[in-house]
């Protein structure tokens, strides 16, 4: 018996898996960068005032 042709679902499934993990990692990176920018601005202000 031929297996069902489910290649489209296969692709969709792995797109979801890799996509979700990728998006999460990207969110970590972006949050980290934003924090670093914020920290830089803050420390500049800190230096100016002191």
């Amino acid at each position: 018996m031929e297996p069902l042709n489910t290649i489209n679902y296969f692709i969709a499934g792995f797109a979801v898996i890799f996509g979700a993990i990728g998006i999460y990692i990207a969110s970590l990176v972006i949050r980290w960068r934003n924090l670093r920018n914020e920290e830089e601005i803050l420390s500049e202000v800190d230096n100016e005032t002191s």
Binding site: N5, T6, F10, G13, V16, I17, A20, L28, E39
Partner: protein, 232 residues
């Protein structure tokens, strides 16, 4: 803080390597299932993601208990990080389940106990996020988060149990057949190896992500402190 510790760098690379290896194993090493075809290969990461989801919510509940006993901010960060990661992996678990079910059960969604429980669990932790968002005082937010992480996790097995009994007493009327029977298959040794390896790899991935998330949280606290100091 800015420099990544060496151990974390090593763990990152190990995780990436293992993940590629697991993907290769799923794609090429595990045999093609005779009836379901390619979509069955989603199964390995589907189970592994579900496992990581459960594991992280379990950690969050334990971290919640420790937080309530010790009142140490560190445990709140651990619990919150675990829940964030758990939500991502449970989402993967539910969505890949639906993608698998479409060709095999002929429906995106069935009221199967596991599927339903996983989705309700996801809703519990969305509620957790909303609870945290609604409270401004950080100390109170941590306490309430811990309480809800415990109560929410406790309800998960009870929900599963209720739905399970609900099913056995009341068989499926529409559709007529037991959904677990359709799409069941015998696992060959190669498949089992792939599954166990996937679960291992996802557990390592979980640890790696946890580490990064906790570092991010610590960084956030530091920047907040800096901000507070400047406001004074």
């Amino acid at each position: 803080m800015k420099e990544k510790p060496l151990k974390l760098k090593i763990l990152d690379w190990v995780t990436i390597l293992l993940f590629l290896l697991a993907t290769a194993m799923v794609f090429f090493y595990a045999p093609m299932e005779r009836v379901m075809g390619a979509v069955q290969k989603v199964f390995y990461f589907h189970v592994a993601a579900g496992w990581v989801g459960m594991l992280s919510f379990f950690f969050a509940a334990v971290a919640g208990i420790i937080y309530l006993v010790k009142k140490d901010e560190k445990w709140d960060l651990i619990g919150y990080s675990a829940i964030e990661i758990g939500i991502v992996f449970t989402l993967i678990n539910v969505v890949t389940g639906a993608i698998w079910a479409r060709p095999i059960w002929n429906a995106w969604w069935t009221w199967d106990p596991r599927l339903t429980t996983a989705t309700i669990m996801e809703l519990v932790y969305f509620a957790y996020l909303m609870l945290r968002q609604g409270i401004d005082d950080p100390e109170r937010r941590q306490r309430f988060g811990a309480v809800y992480a415990i109560v929410g996790f406790l309800s998960v097995p009870l929900t599963f149990f209720s739905i399970r009994i609900f099913r056995t007493i009341h068989p499926v009327v529409i559709g007529g057949n037991d959904p677990t029977a359709v799409g069941a298959f015998d696992m060959t040794p190669l498949m089992l190896q792939t599954l166990l390896f996937s679960i291992l790899v996802f557990s390592v991935l979980f640890i790696d992500l946890m580490w990064h998330r906790i570092r991010l949280g610590q960084y956030m606290n530091r920047v907040d402190e800096l901000k507070m100091r400047l406001q004074d």
